[in-house]
Symmetry: C2
Subunit: 460 residues, 2 copies
């Protein structure tokens, strides 16, 4: 028995007892040493393997401590029964390109890119260093809604710029808007259906489905979500983008806002989610204050994010909960932790409090306004083109009736330009014919001019 | 009509047109100006309010643009119908103490606190600054699973220290273990029940319930989760803590690990979640390699976190997905963003790659080993006390049969010491009688000695 014992080949850096232990454990796991097999006596193994008694003793006691072998009185150690399940499936790791993926497009008119050339790197680097250095207490667990100083700063910012009415107690900081939407759905288990704009934001449809809810598409007209269709849907929760409807670019006028607030106030447990993305960027008129500021009945959840106004890498978003949902949040998540690092919260607070955010918004606002004007003007020279939704935000719609939507995107793709067909965002409503969605923020002014030139050729 | 027009009282910093616009919009919202009311002519309002024509024109055009008033041919502007819903409920914001809450306990034996005195602040501050400065590209959107360099570093670390077998492709970085558990449940909608250790980690029970799943408590014996009870439960998903069962402190021996792997491999679609929290800290023997490393069938999801090994403020956790779930992740979350800031990912990568993490673990490991010995020895002097589960991790159990669990915690509380009763973690099983759970990491050695002194008095 002991003569046929599988001996290890020693080598490498780890201690001999560890190599011996691993070797025997592996043999037991693989079945090379069958359950019930007696191990050689310690003395015999010393001789067989050419190692010291203490090496063997340490290896055996590890094997016993971890349950690989059982100590039997007067007969030493025997192997335990722990054959592992055979591999049921070779199950190779699916291959994926290493990140970052090589860009597949010369010009990507993505709706989610931003221009980071204006980002104040040296200020941010200084701020993050100070935030760590001056706040050792931030290593400990923070408040589940985010730290108070950042929440106070956000409440003030939103009151001033967006007409949001809230106390810092109502602010919840989270790692991105999609993350907050996920938390919100967990707080609202009774809402089995979610009314969503059609066309609308794909991530909101995905979030509803991932949480086992039924997404109900509600048509968007020239003023935003259709109130009558919403009422008929039977949903108790509606997600809207009043400042800048995604992707149509419609701004919801006060009358429609009032209608939606009436809808929310007229049934028990109804809530509106106001996603105020892109509200920082408006080119032709002043921004309309947030729907939340008009709400007197506590039925609106306001959401916003810094991923567009600063950068996608800054994973900080916020929501303002009405009192009823704030109570639920406290009951549900009071033992959790805020998903944003406290150092990053403190860095952002300093960025806001030192006026750097305001300056950054003014710089990028001017940049985007120029880009929007340049791109729409150049594209407007293509015969037959009409452009809508370019009054605000970082994307617009382009319609060119002499081609189908597929032809528009395919001809652009042949020039290595990536556009999104409007139908991508449509669910039950038929898309406007011959229409594509173009984002411009991620391309430089030179690239926008080149993109427009190529599209002139593509759509000639 | 125009004579009864409510005029604003001008003041403050904002432009006059803005004050006029807000005043009229507010009057329309509140009903002070009823729907259909004609606004004064521009000229007349100039005279009434004592402002310039351009001020009135700007205010009126804003009101019209935002839908507060309608332009009627030959009769000027009339108020739109947009009375807001009356406040249905005063709904005050629930009061909450400002963060940080004042500590209510002189000595908090929390199981989640850590000792941050050993944290290398100056290195971390330097690293975060470098991470921002040297990587402008990190402002753009990153990979939904986290950036490749950090994932490669993690895969190597886990292979070396925990015997985890994985490729960087399988690593998913997320903002905390609870967050990753939430993502995982979203990937497994077919798992309607989740088998959980009893006693067990409260956040896992909470996560299952928040995602609409039924948590099924499975008793834990001296080796970990009971395999037969798991089989009988009918669950297809089980959450276990093999390295250091929470809260009993049991380490699962190889035989039980093998049984659970057999359970997972013997039914279609079964998965084990291995939460390897606390595996970095082991006092009396070397750590057993992770269950994941024994899995040949691709049925184990491995999870770990830096919130205990570095600090709760570092909201970075990771999971290793088996190939089947990796494919689902890619299909489901490929358009999402990783919830951890890319700057923070890069800071952590540097912390690992520069050997600072290893050094930090060695320092804190020695510190915690000393604390554990000091605290258990001092408490062991109390007559009748027995201590279990102190071989590893940052907490242990204490049993003192002459008091009930309630008496133990109440008498400690009277000395301003916070302990958790074991029953807090128990669901269907009866708790061990007269047993409490004590964490020691967050208290200094001096505080631990004082806590033990006070408990001697409390339990005399």
């Amino acid at each position: 028995m002991a003569d046929s014992f599988p001996l290890p080949v020693f080598g490498g850096d780890s201690p001999l007892y560890d190599q011996l232990y691993r070797h025997i454990a592996g043999a037991i796991q693989s079945g090379a040493l069958a359950p019930g097999t007696k191990l050689p006596s310690k003395r015999r193994l010393c001789a067989l393997a050419g190692v010291s008694m203490s090496t063997v003793e340490t290896a055996y006691s590890l094997l016993a401590a971890e349950g690989y072998v059982l100590a039997k009185p007067r007969s030493g150690y025997v192997c335990a029964h722990l054959l592992l399940p055979a591999p049921s499936d070779p199950a190779p790791v699916p291959e994926a390109p290493q990140s970052p993926e090589p860009p597949r497009w010369a010009y990507d008119c993505s709706t989610s890119a931003v221009d980071v050339s204006a980002f104040p790197f040296s200020s941010w680097a200084r701020i993050t260093k100070e935030a760590v250095y001056e706040n050792p207490g931030l290593l400990q667990r923070g408040h589940p809604q985010g730290d108070w100083p950042l929440r106070a700063e956000l409440a003030q910012l939103l009151a001033q710029y967006r007409g949001v009415r809230c106390a810092p107690e109502q602010v919840v900081v989270g790692a991105g808007a999609d993350y907050l939407l996920s938390l919100l759905l967990q707080l609202l288990p009774e809402q089995r259906t979610v009314a969503l704009e059609d066309p609308g934001y794909p991530a909101a449809y995905a979030a509803a489905a991932l949480h086992g809810r039924e997404p109900v598409p509600i048509p968007v007209d020239g003023q935003g979500m259709d109130r009558d269709a919403l009422e008929r849907s039977g949903a108790g929760l509606a997600y809207v983008t009043p400042s800048h409807q995604f992707p149509l670019g419609v701004t919801m006028p006060a009358g429609r806002r009032s209608q939606l607030l009436h809808w929310a106030a007229s049934g028990p447990g109804r809530f509106l989610i106001e996603d105020d993305y892109d509200s920082e960027f408006r080119w032709t008129s002043r921004p309309i204050p947030a729907l939340q500021g008009m709400d007197r009945a506590g039925r609106v959840v306001y959401m916003g994010t810094f991923s567009r106004s600063i950068a996608p890498a800054i994973r900080v978003a916020y929501m303002i909960l009405p009192p009823e949902l704030l109570e639920r949040f406290r009951a549900t998540f009071s033992h959790g932790a805020c998903a944003v690092s406290r150092f990053e919260q403190e860095s952002l607070r300093r960025f806001l409090a030192q006026g750097l955010y305001g300056r950054h918004l003014r710089r990028t606002g001017n940049l985007y306004r120029r880009k929007c004007a340049l791109f729409t003007q150049a594209l407007g020279e293509i015969p037959g083109v009409s452009i809508t939704g370019a009054e605000a935000g970082l994307h617009f719609l382009l319609t060119l009736p002499r081609f189908s939507e597929e032809e528009l995107t395919a001809r652009a793709a042949a020039q290595s330009i990536r556009l999104h067909p409007l139908s991508r965002y449509c669910h039950a409503v038929p898309p406007l014919p011959s229409t594509v969605v173009l984002g411009f923020a991620g391309l430089s002014e030179g690239e926008l001019a080149q993109t427009a030139e190529r599209l002139k050729t593509a759509w000639a």
